[in-house]
């Protein structure tokens, strides 16, 4: 009667308490049968009051995605700002299978209200209905659109940050790679919050957090399978879909990478930062003790959550602020 004999770092006490509340709404283990449930439970609540409180104007836009398909996106703009603004292109979380442009966006609003940045957040198309390369090609198309429309949008073309959380972090890393290789618009930075980078599920941390927390090996396999189908884990996976596959991490924009010590993405995030440094690049890596995946979204009031948010915002300020 062995009960999970794998040793692993424990969760912080405040975060354990948060998990006791979250339990079941975001199950630790997501199988393909649960995708519909997740689309319901992870759908973002109405945000209008929050936008109003933060004095943020929101414009819904439609832009051409991969192969010209229509994408919806929202442009969030500080009501009081003047002149061309630094801009964040944001890819939301949700395992590439669920979530929408407003998922987890509370934390991003600080950049608009405190730093005067514009945020463009995109409804990239979701797997499994839209498998690879739709999600990252959609995000890449959005990057090109923001750069091309910079004048109309009031965006400073030289100061576009690509950012995302979890699956969105993987997409942000992917389009930074694609922009380098295709000679596209060069982002001024890439913000990768606990990013989902590797379809191979091979690290030690991938095996350590099975069946607990909010994202485990099975959920991760479900997500990558939805994106890549039978190609998952094989030789035919593009680095833009799974950035851990990239052989060359040189000449990328400065990276901020944060990750929990108690989550499955820990080792792939650390490895990605390490390989950016090895290639002579600029990366800032934070590994938060006791933190489960996306704990800043689920429990922003906790000591660990506040530290994550504060540290991340300080980096964004350094990269973006006037």
């Amino acid at each position: 009667m062995t009960v999970n004999a794998v040793p692993r770092p424990g969760f912080d006490a405040e975060l354990r308490a948060g998990l006791a509340v979250v339990g079941g709404m975001f199950p630790p283990t997501i199988t393909p049968e649960l995708i519909d449930f997740m689309r319901l439970s992870y759908a973002s609540p109405p945000m209008n009051d929050l936008f109003r409180q933060h004095r943020i104007d929101v414009t819904d836009v439609v832009l051409p995605g991969y192969q010209g398909g229509d994408l919806t996106a929202a442009v969030l703009r500080p009501r009081d700002a003047q002149g061309p603004r630094p801009t964040v292109l944001y890819a939301h979380s949700g395992g590439l299978m669920f979530g929408d442009k407003f998922s987890g966006l509370d934390l991003v609003l600080d950049w608009v209200s405190d730093l005067g940045a514009i945020v463009v957040t995109v409804d990239y198309r979701l797997a499994p209905e839209f498998p690879d390369p739709y999600p990252w090609e959609d995000m890449y198309a959005a990057l090109e659109w923001v750069a091309a429309e910079a004048g109309n949008l009031g965006v400073r073309r030289d100061r576009i940050l690509v950012a995302g959380a979890s699956a969105g972090g993987g997409l942000a890393a992917g389009i930074a790679l694609a922009a380098r290789d295709r000679g596209g618009p060069r982002p001024c930075g890439q913000l990768l919050d606990y990013p989902m980078l590797d379809d191979r599920l091979i690290t030690a941390s991938t095996a350590q957090f099975d069946g607990i927390g909010v994202w485990d090996r099975v959920s991760n396999r479900t997500a990558w399978q939805a994106l890549l189908g039978d190609r998952r884990g094989g030789d035919d996976v593009s680095a833009y879909a799974a950035p851990a596959r990239a052989g060359d991490l040189s000449a990328l924009p400065p990276a901020f990478i944060d990750v929990g010590a108690a989550e499955i993405f820990r080792d792939e995030a650390i490895d990605y930062a390490g390989r950016i440094w090895a290639a002579g690049g600029d990366a800032e890596l934070h590994v938060w003790s006791g933190a489960f995946h996306a704990c800043d979204i689920f429990a922003p009031h906790t000591s660990v959550g506040r530290s994550m948010i504060r540290t991340r915002n300080a980096w964004v300020e350094k990269i973006l602020a006037d």
Partner: protein, 351 residues
């Protein structure tokens, strides 16, 4: 987290948000977190600033739902949003509008947690502690009697413990003392019911053996094993009585001990997709013919499967103690692979 509670309530109208609040503060108490963290959790759950004041030292702290120290002008604490945490400590929530459904339980648990954090309350027993005492193996006879008395349980009667995860879906709720108990499987919702109880259903849920107030720890352990044997929707609830004393043996088995024949069954199950349903049919029927009927296969097919099992397991599953060994291995295999406490209740989702 207030917004998360709201979403949980919308997704699953049966969910007991109050129990989630209790489980949340249980973790905070066990984790021995500081006053700010306690206030931050309360504020985050309530969606408004939470405050604390100690009259002796004049210490005061107010924390916002985002966990920041709130330095704005405090609202005057209202009687209906206030709780006393011992003689000289107050906690409160700052709301303009009427109290919300969970405010009372948030305040009660916050007060308890603050009292304990400040070293003034470990010995004061509240309801949560009573059920904790009754389900704890090491409690003394006197402690059990005190706790049972405080909960209105009678020493001459027999009761059962019902165990379910916080996300269980209930149809009909048994009435009886209830609480959340921290276990190594996470917080578990526990209800004490009489030996003979009104029908109800918790999916998943485990019902323990009947015991006097002195044996409710055994009932709890058997209820936990029963719960972990659930396999909803096929088998949403398990009653420990159905397995006689076997569940009690399993409840007291050492988790770290080697169970080679359970491991052999796991190997056989990996090699043969038919293995587990076949074993289940064998251990729940009297004869090979009956098991074959149950499985809807020819008995010679079953005989061939039994031969394969004998080779894989290293003993004859049909001879002497073989049946018992097979049954034990089967239950151990199910326990070691139980995911019933990890999963949500997607059945509760509308549409």
């Amino acid at each position: 987290m207030q917004e998360l509670l709201g979403r949980i309530a919308r997704l699953d109208p049966n969910s007991s948000l109050g129990l989630r609040v209790i489980a949340c503060f249980d973790e905070l108490i066990v984790g021995n977190v500081n006053t700010r963290a306690l206030l931050a959790a309360a504020a985050s759950l309530a969606g408004c600033t939470a405050g604390f004041r100690e009259s002796g030292s004049q210490a005061e702290m107010r924390v916002s739902p985002r966990g920041e120290i709130d330095r704005s002008q405090a609202l005057t604490p209202r009687d209906d949003l206030l709780a006393r945490a011992g003689d000289d400590m107050l906690v409160w929530l700052e709301r303009d509008e009427a109290p919300l459904a969970n405010d009372a339980i948030i305040l009660e648990r916050l007060a308890l947690a603050v009292r304990i954090r400040h070293g003034r309350g470990q010995r004061e027993i509240d309801n949560r502690r009573h059920l904790g005492v009754l389900t704890e193996r090491t409690s003394s006879v006197e402690e059990r009697l005190d706790a049972a008395g405080a909960l209105g349980l009678v020493a001459a009667r027999r009761y059962r413990i019902v165990a379910a995860p916080l996300f269980a879906v209930w149809e009909g709720r048994p009435s009886g003392p209830e609480d959340v108990i921290g276990t190594r499987f996470g917080p578990i919702h526990v209800v004490v019911v009489p030996e003979i109880f009104e029908p109800f259903r918790a999916a998943p849920g485990g019902i323990g053996i009947a015991a006097s107030v002195h044996g409710l720890d055994r009932s709890f352990r058997s209820a936990l094993v029963a719960l972990r044997l659930c396999d909803p929707p096929r088998e949403p609830m398990v009653v420990a009585d159905d397995y006689g004393g076997l569940i009690e043996l399993l409840a007291d088995a050492d988790d770290d001990a080697q169970h080679d024949y359970a491991d052999s069954l796991t190997l056989v199950a990996q090699q043969h997709p038919w293995a587990l349903e076949t074993v289940e049919a064998l251990v729940t029927t009297q004869t090979v013919r009956e098991a074959a009927r149950e499985l809807d296969i020819h008995h010679s097919t079953l005989q061939a499967r039994c031969d394969t099992l004998r080779t894989g397991l290293g003993f004859d599953p049909l001879q002497g103690f073989g049946r018992t060994r097979l049954g034990t291995a089967f239950l151990m295999h199910r326990l070691s692979r139980s995911t019933v406490l990890d999963m949500p209740a997607p059945a509760a989702v509308p549409g």
